[in-house]
C-alpha cells in the first residue's frame, strides 16, 4: 500500500508542478501547492478562498470543490496527493531525535483557518494566511527570489518573517510527523470537518480500541484513524481489526 501511495504522491507532485498544464490554474485544488510557484499547474484552494473573501465575493467555486472532495473522499488527498505532505514525510526520514506532539495541537489548525483564512481577509481585506504561509515561501519565495531581480529589491520584513516561519517549520518537520498538517493546514482543517460523514473514510470504533498504538506506529501523521488529523494514508489497515476503510461503515 505504501509503495502505491509513494507513486501517487510523486505523480501528484509532478502533475501539480507541471508547467505545461498551467491552463488548470483557474481550478483551485484542495491541496497545499502554491499557485505563485513558477511551475504550478493548479491554484491553491486556500489562496483562492482568501482572494474571494478579500473582494467580498462568495467563493462558490472553491467551497463547491472542497464540499465535493470532502463529502466523497474526505482527507484522502492529504495522504495521497498533497505535495507538501509528501515533502514533510521525506524530511521526517532524516535521522534526528524525534518528538511526539500532543493530540490537542491538532486544534490549532482550526484557529489558523478561522482567523487567518476567514476573518482577517473579510475584515481587513488582506490574505494573511498567504502572507505567512511556509508553502508559499518554499515554492514561490525561493525560486522567484533566485531568478527575479525586481523581487529581490522588494524584499522587506514580511519576507523575513515568512522565511523564519518556514525555517521553524522545516525543523519541526525533521523532528515530528507532518507538523504542518497537524497544526497549521487550513485545507486539512476544512476537509477534516467531513471526517465522520464522507462516503469513503477510514474509521474505527472508539469503544473497541485497545491502546496498543499499532496504528499510530504505522501512521505518517502519528495519530489513530479515529482522529480528525488522520490523513487517510491507509498504512494502518491490517494492523488492527478495528480499523476499516471503505464506503460501508461500522455502526
Amino acid at each position: 500500500m505504501n509503495r502505491y501511495r509513494r507513486l501517487t504522491q510523486i505523480s501528484s507532485l509532478i502533475l501539480s508542478n507541471c508547467y505545461v498544464l498551467s491552463g488548470l490554474k483557474y481550478c483551485p485544488f484542495p491541496i497545499m501547492n502554491c499557485h505563485a510557484c513558477p511551475l504550478a499547474a493548479t491554484a491553491c484552494g486556500i489562496g483562492a478562498l482568501q482572494n474571494f473573501l478579500t473582494i467580498g465575493a462568495f467563493p462558490f467555486l472553491v467551497l463547491g470543490i472542497f464540499i465535493l472532495v470532502g463529502s466523497t473522499i474526505g482527507r484522502l488527498l492529504c495522504g495521497w496527493a498533497c505535495p507538501f505532505g509528501f515533502f514533510q514525510e521525506l524530511l521526517y526520514k532524516i535521522p534526528t531525535n524525534k518528538l511526539t506532539l500532543p493530540q490537542w495541537t491538532g486544534m490549532f489548525k482550526y484557529l489558523v483557518f478561522i482567523v487567518l483564512v476567514v476573518l482577517l481577509p473579510i475584515i481587513i481585506h488582506e490574505p494573511w494566511f498567504c502572507k505567512l504561509c511556509p508553502v508559499g515561501a518554499l515554492e514561490a519565495g525561493v525560486p522567484l527570489w533566485l531568478k527575479d531581480d525586481g523581487i529581490r529589491q522588494m524584499i522587506g520584513p514580511l519576507f523575513h518573517a515568512k522565511f523564519l516561519i518556514l525555517y521553524s517549520m522545516l525543523y519541526l518537520m525533521m523532528i515530528t510527523e507532518r507538523p504542518f498538517c497537524r497544526m497549521v493546514c487550513p485545507a486539512g482543517a476544512m476537509l477534516s470537518l467531513f471526517k465522520k460523514i464522507s462516503l469513503f473514510r477510514v474509521s474505527g470504533v472508539p469503544d473497541k480500541c485497545i491502546p496498543c498504538s499499532k496504528c499510530i506506529k504505522k501512521c505518517p501523521a502519528g495519530v489513530t484513524p479515529i482522529s480528525n488529523d488522520c490523513v487517510m494514508c491507509m498504512n494502518c489497515i491490517g494492523t488492527c481489526r478495528n480499523v476499516r476503510a471503505g464506503s460501508k461503515h461500522s455502526k
Binding site: 473582494i55 462558490f60 519576507f159
Partner: protein, 50 residues
C-alpha cells in the same frame, strides 16, 4: 442519527456540484485572477506597499 450521518454525503455532493456550476457560470475565478497574472506578491512574502 447514524442513518443521517451515513447518507449526509449525498446532499453535500449535490450542494458541492451546485456551487461549482454556480461558480463557473459567474466566471468568478477569472474575475479574481484576471489581473493577478498568478504571481501573487502575498504568496512570495512581499508587501505591495514597499
Amino acid at each position: 442519527m447514524t442513518i443521517i450521518k451515513q447518507y449526509l454525503w449525498i446532499p453535500l455532493v449535490v450542494l458541492g456540484i451546485g456551487f461549482i456550476i454556480q461558480g463557473i457560470m459567474l466566471l468568478e475565478y477569472e474575475r479574481v485572477y484576471s489581473n493577478a497574472a498568478f504571481v501573487c506578491l502575498s504568496c512570495i512574502g512581499i508587501e505591495e506597499a514597499y
